[in-house]
């Protein structure tokens, strides 16, 4: 009887595990079915490397390079801003702050994570945009950088809480061993604690980047939505996610445009898949 129960529990867990994989596969198939249809009429290199995205022109053009660059600029910008800030914040919370302050800061970080992205977009539009505009003497404050800064603030809470976890779960004996050798607190942090926590830190960065790439609402509001090839990070851009969100409602189901949006989704899926894969690789190499 007990054996029977064990077997049922085991099978259920197994099933759940497979269910996750099944969903991913189903989503992929769903995206691929419509996305790949596009390439019956459009060459894949024209889609990937075409420099003009103009679905309503005659004839329509479906080059996603400007959108891809838009996403790239915004994401790289957000990463460059959020990684150092997030690291500093996590180190401070995990290692330096006294206990009472640690609790306050952790609660603060969690609150920051709970702010809906639309609110961040809203604040960015009314406060950050004008600042960027006057700071760099631009015709508009809605640029890739504006998006990057706002997205960095969305990525930071995720990064900080995972990094902080990784830092505080470094065995205390490492820290004691280092201090007992006469290392200072700071030397201990950057020569033992950070290396020991590095796999968690890498995972945190990847998750943060994942959030940034997938974010749609705030970037739609903040990046200016211009689907042209961006020359600098101070130019308006449009990301892949924003394109799908903005245009899905106005396409005819089954049209070329409709399939093109699915194909963009497929590209996004591929990119996030790649990032996760790289993160895993980084973690395993570390273990070895």
């Amino acid at each position: 009887m007990r054996k029977f129960r064990e077997a049922i529990i085991e099978k259920t867990i197994l099933l759940n595990g497979f269910a996750c994989i099944l969903f991913v596969v189903l989503i992929f198939v769903f995206l691929a079915k419509d996305g790949l249809t596009l390439f019956r009429t459009i060459a894949i290199q024209d889609f990937l490397f075409g420099q003009i995205w103009s679905p309503l022109a005659e004839p329509p053009q479906f080059g996603i390079l400007p959108l891809f660059l838009g996403s790239l600029f915004v994401t790289v910008g957000a990463t460059v801003i959020s990684v150092p800030l997030g690291m500093a914040c996590a180190i401070f919370i995990g290692e330096i702050a006294p206990r009472w302050m640690r609790e306050v800061l952790k609660a603060g970080v969690e609150l920051l994570a709970a702010i809906p992205s639309i609110v961040i977009g809203f604040i960015g539009m009314t406060m950050l945009g004008p600042v960027v505009k006057s700071l760099f003497h631009l015709p508009t404050g809605l640029t890739a950088v504006t998006g990057s800064i706002a997205l960095a603030f969305m990525a930071i809470p995720t990064m900080v809480s995972i990094m902080e976890d990784a830092i505080t779960s470094v065995p205390r004996t490492y820290k004691e061993g280092s201090l007992a050798l006469g290392a200072t607190h700071w030397q201990t942090i950057y020569r033992v604690i950070i290396p020991a926590a590095s796999s968690g830190i890498v995972a945190a960065i990847m998750l943060g980047i994942g959030r940034v790439i997938g974010e749609t609402m705030a970037v739609m509001m903040l990046t200016g939505n211009a689907s042209v090839m961006p020359k600098t990070i101070l130019a308006p851009v449009r990301t892949m996610t924003a394109t799908i969100a903005a245009e899905m409602g106005e396409t005819v189901r089954g049209s070329e445009h409709y399939f093109a949006l699915f194909a963009i989704g497929l590209v996004l899926f591929g990119i996030t898949f790649l990032i996760n894969f790289l993160a895993d690789m980084a973690r395993h190499r570390k273990k070895k």
């Binding site: 490492y174 004691e176 201090l179 007992a180 050798l181 006469g182 020569r191 033992v192």
Partner: protein
């Protein structure tokens, strides 16, 4: 002059007094063992000598600890200098998750980095001193976490040697090791005694009797008896020491 001397040393964890009026004089280049039942304050006492108790919130000290005649609790004491001079080996081997080489080079690099050639020298010497050089010299770049526990503990001792301390504090250094490994570490300690003043905390009374020159017996935060090891074990002055040694305590 004694190497280490405590004068009316008291230590409090919040309201709890873990050390009570400890007066102790430790001689240079000898092995001094601290024994006593669990919770009597052995580790606490040991950790006052390199001020590791500073890390604990609410730990407070009165009295003096003199090392080479200087009170290490005086304001302005440089903890980096102190901990270079007074090194510590922990109960569970705690090599850093770095390569064998980087573990040994950690101390020297921390204290003003040396050239690659110098570091290689230091690593060879330190590993030789704990008899690991021949075994490990061909895999210095592999992770220290893959070594056996005994090798890890030796590595931790070597890591300490690399910062050239005077005093080595060992808190139950063999409790994670099997009897054979324990015996070999004890032999190593007798060898190291020529160069270092060693303090060892141990639960294993045979070990204290075998390796140490002096023994201190602690009970409930007090140093009950302290003297030459043979005397303490064969002819204790205090009745409580005798009771402990003959196994009438935990």
């Amino acid at each position: 002059m004694s190497k280490i001397e405590t004068k009316d040393l008291n230590l409090f964890y919040g309201n709890f007094q873990a050390l009570i009026d400890v007066n102790l004089a430790i001689e240079e280049k000898m092995i001094t063992a601290l024994i006593g039942p669990s919770g009597c304050g052995k580790s606490t006492l040991l950790r006052t000598f390199n001020r590791m108790n500073d890390l604990i919130d609410g730990a407070r000290i009165t009295g003096e600890v003199l090392i080479d005649g200087k009170n290490i609790y005086e304001a302005g004491t440089d903890l980096v200098v102190l901990r270079k001079k007074v090194g510590m080996v922990f109960q569970r081997p705690n090599p850093f998750p770095l390569s064998i080489f980087d573990n040994i080079a950690y101390g020297p690099r921390t204290h003003g980095s040396k050239s690659k050639a110098e570091l290689e020298d230091v690593v060879e010497q330190a590993l030789s001193r704990v008899q690991l050089w021949d075994v490990l010299k061909d895999r210095l770049e592999s992770s220290a976490l893959n070594l056996s526990l005994e090798q890890q503990q030796r590595l931790c001792i070597a890591r300490l040697m690399a910062v050239t301390p005077d005093v080595v504090l060992m808190d139950e250094p063999c409790s994670a090791l099997d009897p054979m490994a324990t015996q070999r570490i004890e032999e190593l300690m007798s060898e190291l005694k020529k160069h270092y003043t060693i303090l060892i905390v141990t639960h294993n009374m045979q070990q204290a009797a075998r390796v140490s020159d002096r023994t201190g017996f602690m009970l409930l935060g007090r140093l009950v008896e302290y003297g030459e090891t043979p005397q303490v074990f064969t002819n204790p002055k205090e009745i409580k020491t005798e009771e402990y040694i003959t196994g009438r305590y935990g």
